[in-house]
Symmetry: C2
Subunit: 344 residues, 2 copies
DNA sequence: ATGATCGATGTAAACCTTTACATTGAGGTT
DNA sequence: AACCTCAATGTAAAGGTTTACATCGATCAT
């Protein structure tokens, strides 16, 4: 139905065909109530005939925005990333925004590079999954020049930035209580590394859980870094010391998987000999054997909520910059059991 | 070092400060060789003082491009997606392009929606992971209006579109020969569903592998759909028929995982009782127990190569629209073994 | 000295919108 | 009949670049 165009039709083509001015065409599209029914019809017809689509560049230039959001992540391969992105992307798309991906791989060099999208105006807002405000080249106060930001996946220490994520503390407290209710009295927390703030949050939830017990349970933290290798290594260290818990509460599912395979490699069985609890409920948690008992992050919701907060800010519906902590569910599968016939 | 700006500096501010025209400033940036050393210095100084960054919208409008590429995927959560995206993203970023994500969830509605990035000129090129050319609203020939495209992850039946991916046929032939070399004579191929072209490619590689054998081996295909559930289901069906192979060659690792857990659930051991081979080498393949023997997709390279092909096309370095098939390595872990003490 | 050549710079158009402001004319009020 | 109001439309500026073309001197050959 469209004309044999080589160059895409412009608003001017439409105006000419409809016999009106370009202003009227623009109005017919952006604020139809301002244009008479009859002319609106003519314009619509002309648009259909020309196959006109407004040039986004021209619009953006004129309106000083890009309808684009930059998502900065330190690792695209992170098992949480896909779910989060799905939510972010859906919310953005629903509101006419596009999602631009920046994979920093944890390096500030790449991080810097992606800031070009902000400084050149290619993106209106920023979703931070890195856990820190991107460093500008010059050591100047960056917050003033940065666009609206929302953090997710990893909270940012700066209080000015909204964070959307699971309530690590509450979830870990609950999970710890669950382990205690199963009879466990010696529970090791395997951390996610010193640089990850969430590790401290989860550890603190674990401690709160311990304190709920009438007995005085040992706060027992060993260091990991969130990889399955670090889970394996932690187990090995504990075996060498010959100081073993009855349950492992792991910073995340990856670590839990490492822990379990290390235990299995030594001939122990999970959950018969040891209980292991993870965090995240990565897609693989249910396929693992034993099925991982873990805390589910509502990744999709987190993503959607984070994006909506950001877009509301962009739309000037000024919002409090608060943290929004979502509830994490305990998903009970097979990797945790009662302590009854356990060796220690 | 930068002035107290509310509005970002424009090229005009720089020009004024440097005492030259805006054309000279533009030239100093885009084609420095055209401007005298002395003025270039003045301009550079002025840029530093104003903290000027060229407005991308204005540039894009003027130059009729966006330096942005749309990546259309049917599922962001696909285990291959992250690795692919990492490669795509890296190559794009290296060449100053941005990557825009479109998650179609397999629905044409969303697919349509993302096409707005193309029709409005927000994206210059398209990376297709969906396996088909997006359908335009009207039943018109879309290829003429679509920008340069490259397909990856799933080949597109249309011959005009370059595809970058692993050589499914060769890899599966090799893997099948490997199973045969282990002594397997009854090998079931579990497909990835009728709608997935790759399923046929891999099946055909498997058949070629069978034919290499001096014996006349049975081409034995059962249907799956690429999920671990379908792997489980396939195993159950075979048990009901009481017609069992000694090895399973699965369309992908997900299926293989389903197959293995179904076998284990029935009390069999892998690889002692059955061998299972996957495809993809998803991040989890090595953490699974038993470690998955599988074919590794060089996801990162595929992504980079695909993006480079697309960007070359965009840069008018006209390239043949050919398929680029990369080699897939057989990763031998524990899930396949000799047939010796197998039950059947 | 004169003109040609060429490098460096400036002028202005073009890219395509949106929107403030001006204009027009119809309908209503006095 | 003169005036006012208001809805509908048009005119033109603005948004910030890039680049073809024009201009200006200086250098060089004659």
């Amino acid at each position: 139905m469209s004309e044999p165009v080589d160059k895409p039709a412009t608003i001017e083509d439409v105006a000419k065909l409809a016999g009106v001015s370009i202003a009227t065409v623009s109005r017919a599209l952006r604020s139809p109530e301002k244009v008479a029914e009859s002319t609106r019809k003519k314009v619509t017809a002309a648009i259909a005939r020309t196959g006109y689509t407004a040039n986004a560049m021209a619009q953006n230039l004129r309106m000083q925005r890009s309808k684009m959001v930059l998502v900065l992540a330190s690792s695209i391969a992170d098992p949480n990333f896909a779910g989060l992105l799905t939510g972010l992307e859906k919310a953005a798309n629903d509101r006419g925004y596009g999602v631009l991906i920046g994979n920093t791989e944890g390096t500030t060099g790449l991080e810097q590079n992606y800031l070009r999208f902000l400084s050149t105006g290619m993106a209106d807002g920023l979703v931070l999954l890195t856990g820190h405000i991107p460093v500008a080249g010059e050591p100047q106060t960056p917050l003033t020049t940065l666009p609206p930001i929302v953090a997710t996946e990893r909270p940012v220490s700066n209080r000015e930035i909204s964070y959307v994520g699971v309530d690590d503390v509450a979830a870990c407290k609950m999970a710890t209580e669950y382990l205690i209710s199963l009879g466990h009295r010696k529970i090791t927390f395997i951390s996610g590394g010193p640089s990850d703030i969430r590790s401290d949050l989860r550890h603190s939830g674990y401690r709160q859980g311990l304190r709920e017990s009438p007995e005085d349970l040992r706060d027992w933290r060993v260091e990991g870094d969130g990889t399955s290798e670090s889970g394996r290594a932690a187990v090995e260290r504990l075996f060498i010391k010959d100081d073993l818990p009855t349950a492992f509460f792991c910073f995340n599912d990856n670590t839990a998987i490492g822990v379990i395979s290390a235990l299995q490699l030594r001939g122990y069985r999970v959950p018969e000999d040891f209980s292991v609890l993870g965090f995240d409920d990565i897609p693989f948690a249910s396929n693992f054997s034993p099925g991982l008992t873990t805390i589910r992050q509502p990744r999709h919701h987190i993503g959607e909520k984070a994006m909506n907060i950001l877009l509301n800010r962009l739309a000037n519906r000024l919002l409090e910059t608060r943290s929004h902590l979502l509830h994490g569910d305990l998903i009970v599968r097979e990797s945790c059991a009662g302590v009854s016939r356990q060796r220690k």
